[in-house]
């Protein structure tokens, strides 16, 4: 469901070359493409916050929140890290950290079932640990996050085979329009290219966003203004 980087590049070039506005090199395009991808990706989280505040609808394909979640699900994954009863770090390091669980990798260990860990800052942990009825327990364990250092409280000493499983959003892969130079011309090379990981519905938005950025690069105000107006119109249509 990814968006082909070659399709986007060809469209951008086609629009830019119309009326001889200018040209962007593959190197420039790769820089702008990554910038555009991250800009669209980051906006998902703010849009979810906005759409969560208004009533949704029960349609099968047109609920904005469902659509946004579908776009983010592509990047949602989980990983496990050894529990070891000590401070640990997450590897891979998440772009955005979701829920965390203490669980076992072996079926025959019947010590603790899979249990969610409440994420706390050191300050929050110190507060709840002071109260006898809120301090962490085996039923309600917590994980204290201090930068990339994590420590679980409440479970006591867990046996070997236990891991902390965490859900997270990973960063989109860096896109690349790979090419080989033949007779001075850059020809698309699929084997060295990396497509956009964004949802396929983002293809148009990517083209407009890159055009907007390209307008700045080639110092063509007209391109920038047209692309910017197009983007604003699209946002208005989606959010009104």
């Amino acid at each position: 469901m990814a968006v082909s980087i070659n399709t986007v590049y060809q469209r951008v070039l086609a629009i830019l070359n119309k009326e001889q506005r200018g040209y962007i090199t593959p190197v420039e395009f790769n820089l702008l493409a990554n910038q555009a991808q991250m800009s669209i990706f980051e906006q998902y989280f703010y849009d979810i916050n906005q759409f969560a505040r208004i009533p949704g609808n029960d349609t099968e394909y047109s609920d904005m929140l469902d659509n946004l979640n579908e776009k983010i699900e592509i990047f949602e994954t989980s990983a496990q890290v050894a529990h070891n009863n000590q401070t640990f770090s997450l590897n891979p390091k998440p772009y955005k950290l979701g829920s965390m669980f203490s669980t076992t990798t072996t079926d025959n260990v019947n010590y603790y079932p899979s249990i969610e860990l409440e994420k706390l800052t050191p300050k929050e942990y110190r507060r709840i640990a002071l109260s006898p009825i809120t301090k962490p327990s085996s039923d309600f364990p917590v994980v204290v996050i201090n930068g990339n250092n994590f420590k679980v409280y409440g479970l006591g000493t867990v046996p070997a085979g236990y891991v902390v499983e965490y859900n997270y959003i990973q960063k989109p892969a860096t896109v690349n329009w790979g090419y080989t130079t033949v007779l001075g011309e850059a020809l698309y090379n699929q084997s060295t290219s990396v497509d956009f990981e964004l949802h396929s519905t983002e293809e148009t938005k990517l083209v407009i966003k890159i055009l907007e950025l390209a307008g700045l690069v080639i110092q063509d105000v007209g391109t920038y203004q047209v692309a910017d107006a197009e983007e604003k119109q699209k946002i208005q249509q989606e959010k009104s």
């Binding site: 969560a52 009533p55 949704g56 929140l65 969610e116 409440e118 706390l120 929050e124 709840i128 109260s131 009825i133 809120t134 039923d139 309600f140 917590v142």
Partner: protein
Amino acid sequence: MGLLEGTSRQDYYEGDDHGAYQFISLKDIVNNFLVAYVGQDKVISKASRSDIIFHAKRTIQELSFDTFNTQKSLEVEVGPNLAIVFPQDYVDYSKIAWVDGYGVERVMQPAYKSGAPKAASQDSDFQFVYDNEGDFINTSSITEQNFNNAKTTNKGEYSGNSGVRAENTSGERYGLDPMVSQVNGVFVINKLESRFQFTSDMVGKIVTIHYVSDGLARDEDTVVHKFAEKAMYDNILFSIVSTRSNIPEYVVRRYQKAKFASTRTAKLRLSKLNTEELAQVMRGKSKQIKH
């Protein structure tokens, strides 16, 4: 899938965990609450699990005192020191009785006319004696000694003997006080030293202490009867909403009413108003009272 799927009948009857199906654990209550009440388009948009745990445990404490029908009891033999310390998870007693040879509980009354004061040492000039830090030096209480030495007597056995509990015979010549005229005996609640004290005739007797706890002392105590499950959710909901800022007062009142109604329903259900048992009690209504 039924809640009991995964546990066969054989597992149940041959295991130790009998009767657990009537209860729901605190963990399940907190998780259920998070699922049904917290989140987008729910009553509470966001709440930390610690907050919910706090309010859930506080609700268990409150409901343990007068809604849950979970009184605890402890059977103890009275030793020569004539005292029984409060049970570990004691909050208040509901009934203290000694057990006779037929296993019948003889309900004892608290001593209204005695007590367990702290006694301060005094010198020959009746001045207080202090320790190095300027505090009283405590000595054994005469009130306590006299109470312990006394014996419970039948209201009809009046004598001038100083060893007879004056409380039980108080007012005998001019009319007994029904509140204290009983033969089962009395006890003193020594709150300072967290113990019950008995009279000397109780040595070797078996005493049963019925008491209430707050439901949080042990993990196995921290369960809620299913009759009170809705009351738990409504109490937690009201507690969270009422302690948040920017919640309209009418919303808080709505949940307060829901909490009140579900707590009352839980109390009625747990009171076990069984029609058969009520009928049996009412059958005694026509019995002629003999004077």
